[in-house]
Amino acid sequence: MARVVIDVLLKPEILDPQGKAVEGALTRLGLAGVTSVRQGKTFTLEVDGEVDDARLAQIHELAGSLLSNPVIEDYVIREVTA
């Protein structure tokens, strides 16, 4: 069983109103010095068998089409563990 972890974040130039709301709340709750909060998504895939190059390429493909929208988001495959 392998695990693949993918992070998806809005591109820096896209307004993130949820992040802004969280930023305001953190400041109200007394955390000083917060200059920016961006809210993203994490996908954790549990995969049977081995994640070889072919499978990883397939995961990249789907991370860039289904899991993220390249018009507004970037993705990073943060972790691949066997």
């Binding site: 307004l15 929208n69 018009v71 507004i72």
Partner: protein, 223 residues
Amino acid sequence: MRVGIVTFPGSLDDRDAARAVRIAGCQAVELWHGDADLHAVDAVVLPGGFSYGDYLRCGAIARFAPVMGPLIDAANGGLPVLGICNGFQVLCESHLLPGALVRNDSLHFICRDQRLRIESASTVWTSEYEVGQEIVVPLKNGEGGYVADEATLDLLEGDGRVVARYLEVNPNGSRRDIAGISNARGNVVGLMPHPEHAVEALTGPTTDGLGFFTSILKGLVDA
């Protein structure tokens, strides 16, 4: 004239869209998301709602539904397609239209009667309007902020592909007050407000929305 209306799991406005199509004098044909067949319709409406619960991103899962395969091919071949609200989101996710729709800048779900200005009468869905005509139709969305990079926005403006713009107030932070756009050919239109809810005096604030559905009739008859 047969106009297909696609129902996805979570579609909400498919019945109103079908009703608008009938009031405009066309035959409404129900299309099912899981059926990869357009049943020889002459045009398609992707209705509003919350397909797949808006999970992942609005329209992102619907975009891969079986019916979308033939629909994307047909749209690229010139089939008239109107995406309203969630349908607009599906069209952007399908890359039939550029850009994307993101969370309203206010973070609030907005529901109001919205004044719009028609900016293009040269699409198959807006030929019954005059450029500059002002209309009022319902708007109801949580993720209606239209975004695209500056080059894309300039291209849309330069090519006359901004179909409608918000007047009086920008309800969701859309770039350049954009409420609707078309593809280069003018057969695919995405619109965030809801013309299908403004086709009858009894149930709508106006009947200003009917023109979208009568335009298609005119376009096909002329062709």
